[in-house]
Every structure is written in C-alpha cells, then in structure tokens.
Assembly symmetry: C2
DNA sequence: GCGATATTCAACCAAATGGTTGACGAAAGA
DNA sequence: TCTTTCGTCAACCATTTGGTTGAATATCGC
C-alpha cells in the first residue's frame, strides 16, 4: 500500500490542515528551528515535528540540520504545481490582484497570531 | 469537534483526493448526472455520492436536482481563494505560462483516463 | 563525562476517512 | 399500479489522521 503516488495528493493534503498552513505562513517571514516553530502552538513538540515531516514530504518546506538544530525553510516551488493545477480549472485567468490584496488583509494578516 | 470553520480546510481537503480531482476534471468538460459521474470509477455509487457531497460542501461543485436526476456542475470560483492563498507563498506574479503548458501535457492530459 | 537542550521515535488513543452493503424515498415509465 | 431508475441514508469496517506521552538519540556547554 502507501500508494500516495501523485504529488498533488501530498501537497493538497498537507495544505488541508490549519496548523500546517499557519506554519507555512510563519516560515514566510523567516527560516525557523523546530522548537521555535512549535512555540506559539498549544501542542506538543512531537506533534509539530510530525506536521513538519508532512510538509517536508510534500516538498513544501525543507529541513537542514545544523548541529543539533534543524532549520525549516519554505520551499514555495512545490506550491507552483498545485497552483497551476488549480488555475486550469479557473480557465487560465491569472489571479486578480485586487482580490489578492483584499484576501491578504482579511485572511492572511489575522492568521499567524503569535505571542506578541 | 466539527470545527472545520476555515473554508480553506474544506477546499484543500476536497482536492487532496485523486478521485475527487478526477471528478472535477470530468466536470470540466460538461455538467453530469451523479450516475454518469460514477460510471468510469470502480467504486459504488454511494461512494461517489459521498465524494460529490464533499465537493459540494467545499463549494467546488453545485448540484441541482431536476426530476430524479441530480446534475453536477463545476464551480471554479471556489478554487480562486485557495489559488490566491497559494500565490501569496509562491510570490510568483501570475503563473508562468511556460510551466503551465508543460504541466498540462505531462500531468493533466493523462489524468482523466476514462473507458475510452 | 555530565547535564541540559533539540529533535525524533515508538506505542498508544480517539476520531475522521474512504470504502462497503442493503434498505429506503421519490420520480419515470410500462 | 407496479417496476425500474436515481440517488441518499444508515450501519458497518479497515485504515489513516492528529494528537498524546515517555524513552531514545545527538549535540552543545561546562
């Protein structure tokens, strides 16, 4: 078994979890160590470690161990294929920049609520 | 429980299943009745009915009952928000059309393999 | 070497997922 | 009316998911 062959499966599944999307938005600002990624979440380190594993297997992030610290880095290219797949259904129209900015203000800015 | 508040959860989860993506690609060509959607799949009608329910709840399709037949129709707008969300990470201004065409030939054209 | 820190592993758990089957209600057609 | 077709519902099942905890591993600093 383990027939998760299509990378689209893996990427969309990874994106379907709010914790993982929030992790991605955190990494958007900067590379982070696993412990620092886990910090704002009310969840065990092991749970975050699993989430990071899923994001890594999906190709959405990469993890580079330096010493005892493992650095997590966003890999936006993996989103490209999925994004392209979606656009094929949207009939090519490249994203409306108007809607994009609006979306950023309403959704994205409120999502990563860390401890100030 | 049932705290699936964020529509992004629902949309990405719906897209994470290859059967559902294949259904979407079928509906890209034409509106279809539930039975006809189910036809090319080696899976019970009830299973397809569930998949269609998931796609409907995600807003990716709509279902209109006319007589005893329920017609399924693609709703590409729901993909827009998810697509926009993804672009915020890729920071690629509008999708690279080169990559897009290449992707279509390699991935998308082979996906919906129906009973020829 | 020893203790603290960083991260994963293993075992476990409840809940959700994707599938099955059989019964069901509603519309069409003979 | 009686039967067939369309689609969903309910109950059930195996597997996966997302979380927990405690032990294990590896590095850093003293």
């Amino acid at each position: 078994m383990a027939a998760m062959s299509d990378p689209l499966d893996t990427v969309f599944h990874a994106l379907a979890d709010p914790t993982r999307r929030r992790i991605l938005s955190m990494l958007l600002e900067d590379d982070m160590a696993v412990t620092d990624v886990a910090h704002p979440f009310e969840m065990s380190l092991a749970a975050i470690s699993k989430h990071l594993g899923i994001l890594t297997r999906a190709g959405l992030i990469s993890q580079e161990r330096r010493g005892r610290v493992k650095w997590c880095k966003l890999e936006p290219d993996a989103l490209r294929d999925a994004s392209i797949w979606m656009q094929s259904f949207g009939q090519f129209e490249a994203v409306n920049l108007d809607a994009f900015e609006k979306f950023l203000e309403t959704e994205l800015r409120t999502m990563p609520e860390e401890d100030g």
